[in-house]
Amino acid sequence: MPISDWFKAREQRRYTAPTTTVSVADVPDGVWVRCEGCKRTLYMGDLERSEMVCPSCGKHHDITAPERLALLIDEGTFAEMDADLSSGDPLDFTSGKAYADQVVAAQERTGLPEAIVTGTASIGGHRVVIGVMDFRFIGASMGSAVGEKIARAFEMAATLRHPLVMVTASGGARMQEGMLSLMQMAKTSAAAARLAEMRVPYVAVLTNPTMGGVTASFATLADVIIAEPGALIGFAGPRLVEQTIRKSLPKGFQTAEALLEHGMIDMVVDRRELASTLALVLGYLQPGDE
């Protein structure tokens, strides 16, 4: 479903029961789900009303890009950009699952053309350019199309002199596009650095998980970095770290809370307060004189 339709159908919208973290219990109609944080069985309606944050243990379940947009932006203010951009298969990558098939499958499963949705919008009355990644789409890995949409979002923010808000979730660079993907790290970072030189504000919201080439490029070049509670954020994947150092990882390693303690992010904000916090922060970050 294209984003525009999705917004029209907003009244009927339902959160996706996120099978990665919430397992639909075997009760009729999937009305009851089990929280992987506290293992309790929750009524899906309650979970939805608290924005997919478990009312019992506070676990933040993954949500989709359209769901995120609906939570963050002022109703009716979203205008999507670059909706027709999607991945090619430049390397004709067929090892493992064929990449071209993966893309089509992801498009069908998510209703999205790519792993990121970008556009202009308002948050608490502040005009912004916004990008939201969707982890369901091949782990929201960054290939050419994702990198291009991100670069264009930075450039639109530069042109409009509106703050940019990026909500990230990604496994990193998309290996199926080889070096073209790696270079998207440089491309998006260059776009972020250019925006910074123009003194236009940039706020990043790191959600679960934000890893690899995304964390090591545009995602952490923001003026203010917010993360969601419990989000896994890092460069190397935990399994690789474990294999490399040959010991088990400390509790809480690479969580938003650990990053806060290590000085890497500005704040950890509960999803239910994210929109208001963003509005508050945006109030302080007016584009500076050139």
Binding site: E177, G178, G234, G263
Partner: protein, 314 residues
């Protein structure tokens, strides 16, 4: 290297034949001549039709010329600068100044060791956050004082340790990417061996990318790619081919500007010649960039990066 084994066997045979006294067995002379011809043919075939995985192995050869060798042979008046001014000095990253054929430049380079002792100190060429922060510091220095930047890529990747994550490995790399994209001086990158992912990219893009024939540059290591795709690191051979990580691949895609040929068998068979050839390529690249204004350089670099990517839609 594994793929060289058939050749090595023939060479062993040849060596033993040559030890025989030919006055006793004159018929062996013909056999030796034939074997030598055979070895020549095999060598030719072996090294001209190298698979990507074979090139990765050559790129990792312990005797391959390293950043230190280029520094020693190509540059005079080398000044090494240490430290990130924040936490530590990372020996896996060289940062400093040097003079290349009369031209003063800033130099960055991944630094593998020549022996175990050096490799331990240099973490086998895999930088900690401090290495990237030192590199970023040098980028800003070069920008301030108008020194072109020359970099040498030779790393399997940034180090994936617990403390590295805790000290912001991702942020340190991102800082380099941002800085390198905006420095108002020429940036010439040479890929001399391994080009592993974000750790290579941190000093791995600019206005020109020169690659040695058997250098590789990849979004992910072949082994890890194979592990993800097939849950089997031993299928790295196959993954290497899929990833299009060779110098020829990058040249074809317009990501590399020039490929410098290596002697048959790889750069380690004739280091002086390879180093000199890289020197020539570097010099030519610097000459071609010398006349461009600072502003034009940054605009051109940005456009170069912006043009990278293949997708559908517009």
């Amino acid at each position: 290297m594994e793929f060289e084994r058939p050749l090595a066997e023939l060479e062993d045979k040849l060596a033993s034949l040559k030890r025989v006294d030919l006055t006793d067995q004159p018929e062996l002379a013909a056999e030796i001549a034939e074997l030598e011809a055979e070895i020549g043919r095999i060598r030719e075939t072996l090294y001209t039709g190298l698979t990507p995985w074979e090139r990765v192995q050559i790129a990792r050869h312990p005797e391959r010329p390293k950043t230190d060798d280029y520094l020693a042979s190509l540059f005079t008046d080398v000044v090494e600068l240490h430290g990130d001014r924040l936490f530590g000095d990372d020996e896996a990253m060289f940062a400093g100044f040097g003079t290349l054929r009369g031209r003063r430049v800033a130099v960055l380079g991944h630094r593998k060791g020549k022996n175990t002792h050096e490799n331990v100190r240099r973490n086998f060429g895999s930088s900690h956050p401090e290495g990237f922060r030192k590199a970023e510091r040098l980028m800003h220095l070069a920008d301030r004082f108008g020194l072109p930047i020359v970099t040498f890529l030779d790393t399997a990747g940034a180090y994936p340790g617990i403390e590295d994550e805790d000290r912001g490995q991702a942020l340190a790399i991102a800082g380099c990417l941002a800085a390198l994209s905006r420095v108002r001086v020429p940036v010439v990158v040479t890929a001399i061996g391994e080009g592993g992912s974000g750790g290579a990219l941190a000093i791995g893009f600019g206005d020109r990318l020169i690659m040695l024939e058997n250098a590789y540059y990849s979004v992910i290591s072949p082994e890890m790619c194979a592990t993800i795709l097939h849950k089997d690191a031993r299928r790295a051979n196959e993954a290497s081919a899929c990833l299009q990580l060779t110098a020829a691949d990058l040249l074809r895609r317009g990501l590399a500007d020039e490929v410098v040929p290596e002697p048959l068998g790889g750069a380690h068979t004739d280091p002086p010649a390879v180093i000199e050839a890289i020197g020539d390529a570097l010099d030519a690249a610097l000459v071609s960039l010398a006349g461009i204004s600072r502003e034009a350089l940054v605009v051109a670099r940005y456009e170069r990066l912006r043009a990278i990517g293949e997708f559908t839609g517009e």
